[in-house]
Amino acid sequence: MDRNELPLLRWLLTTVALGFLALFLLVPLAVVFTQALRGGVLTYLTAIREPSALSAIGLTLLTAAVAVPSNLAFGVAASWAIAKFEFPGKHLLLTLIDLPFAISPVISGLMFVLLFGSHGLFGPWLAQHGVQVVFAVPGIVLATIFVTFPFVARELVPLMQAQGLEEEEAALALGAGGWQTFWHVTLPNVRWGLLYGVVLCTARAMGEFGAVSVVSGHIRGLTNTIPLHVEVLYNEYNFTAAFAVASLLVLLALITLAAKKLVIWRSGRDAGAGAPTRG
């Protein structure tokens, strides 16, 4: 096809496409690092090691440490059930898994305020027992679990479906137990997809802004995650510090992209071929 393409047209299309990407992707990326390092490396390090920055980093890590394993466990269980068994309501389950992608992050946060806030459904009961969920760490963790809910399951369902049942049936026929089959046959077959799902889930858990913003209450040093801390610094016109802290999240994003490339390369399949993952 390429051979009869006009070279000029080709060059033109490539230039326009790359220009578009540069304008929307490369420029923002470059902005973050130039702004972050504008005051020199020392200022950069100070901004990251400042107490409220450190506490934001700690809270973000804690949130991810709870949200990712929960959704990993659910994702593996759900995709296994969907791919390997037939049961009523399967289609509904698939739709429900996708639901958090379809809901605005702000609305996701709002739902948790309505459930656990002081005027919420469970608010009065929680208050009586001295538990605070909204404007506290549990709310942040819950909202994060909600928005990162689909990632692992969505990566695994198509993979497991594509693999079919033959290998499992062979293992069972050869006398392996259910768990053995799962650990030694099912799981190793999907390990790269699983890894990518976990990476995506982690990146989103650490970077979620809208939903967490609603439930956090923005208490500096207490309920600020990294993205919220970035917002606070930015709104205080402390741009260099805002971009310094933001650059940590950019590095995380670049690791995610590299992980995707690695997964495609190792599994020898095109991960982009499925439905695009929404982040």
Partner: protein, 257 residues
């Protein structure tokens, strides 16, 4: 599936319960308030524009990535997913800085009299950014699998390259482009993080619907926030339904091609 019910269904039902709990009259009064209507209109129009830009340029980017070779192509291909991986708040402050009147791109735009940041144009820019990967990633695999024979047949039969593209290639890609467009639109409608920084957030002018929910919440107007959210949710569900139908159609076209 208890986990699913707890994590997804419970919060959702709380929202609808709350929205209807305050009475239909109040819900209607809230969502027909001029400021709310302006926010809905802006959210919808800006999302639509962003998704349209992505439909055109996404198709172009997918075409270039699949059909042409150039140095650094794997890197460019990987970079397309950046808006998925980058936290929205970071995208927001970076775009604002680049497109503000003293930023790299904003300066050039200001020279020709265009103000990007803190105007509806800024919102469109942010929404284009976050929706960028959708069309590229839905079109790319279809374009890769596109049967070369079909094109060669058209060319052999005397069709020009333009005719081949518009009569043979484009109809095959149409479902994928539409799906990507709908996904980008759905994402843009609910987007918050990347928009709030660049939009300037002026009521009636550059205030998007998710931001208005946030504002109502900060004023402890839970009923108002919930009413606005319920309408947006209903819109998202309709769009989700449309996307599912589109994907079914796309799969059908893919089989025939």
């Amino acid at each position: 599936m208890l986990y699913l019910s707890l994590v997804v269904l419970l919060p959702l039902s709380a929202l609808f319960l709350r929205a209807t709990g305050s009475g239909w009259h109040q819900v209607w009064a809230t969502v027909t308030d001029p400021r709310v209507l302006a926010a809905y209109r802006l959210s919808f129009l800006a999302s639509l524009t962003g998704a349209l830009i992505n439909a055109v340029f996404g198709l172009l980017v997918a075409w270039v990535l699949v059909r042409y070779d150039f140095p650094g192509k794997p890197l460019v291909d990987g970079l397309v997913d950046l808006p998925f991986a980058l936290p929205t708040a970071v995208g927001g402050i970076a775009l604002t800085t680049a497109y503000a009147s003293n930023g790299w791109i904003g300066k050039a735009l200001a020279a020709v009299g265009i103000q990007a940041a803190f105007t509806p144009l800024g919102i469109v820019i942010a929404l284009t950014f976050i929706g960028l990967p959708f069309v590229v990633r839905t079109v790319q695999p279809v374009l890769q699998d596109l049967d070369a024979e079909l094109e060669e047949a058209a060319l052999t039969l005397g069709a020009s390259r333009g005719q081949t593209f518009f009569r043979v290639i484009l109809p095959t890609l149409a479902p994928a482009v539409l799906t990507g467009f709908a996904l980008a639109l759905a994402r843009a409608l609910g987007e918050y993080g990347s928009v709030v920084f660049i939009s300037g957030n002026m009521p009636m002018k550059t205030e998007i619907a998710p931001l208005l929910i946030m504002t109502k919440l900060e004023q402890f107007d839970y009923a108002g926030a919930t009413a606005i959210a319920a309408v947006m949710l209903a819109a998202s569900f309709l769009l989700l339904l449309a996307i599912n139908l589109l994907q079914g159609w796309a799969a059908g076209v893919g089989r025939r091609a």
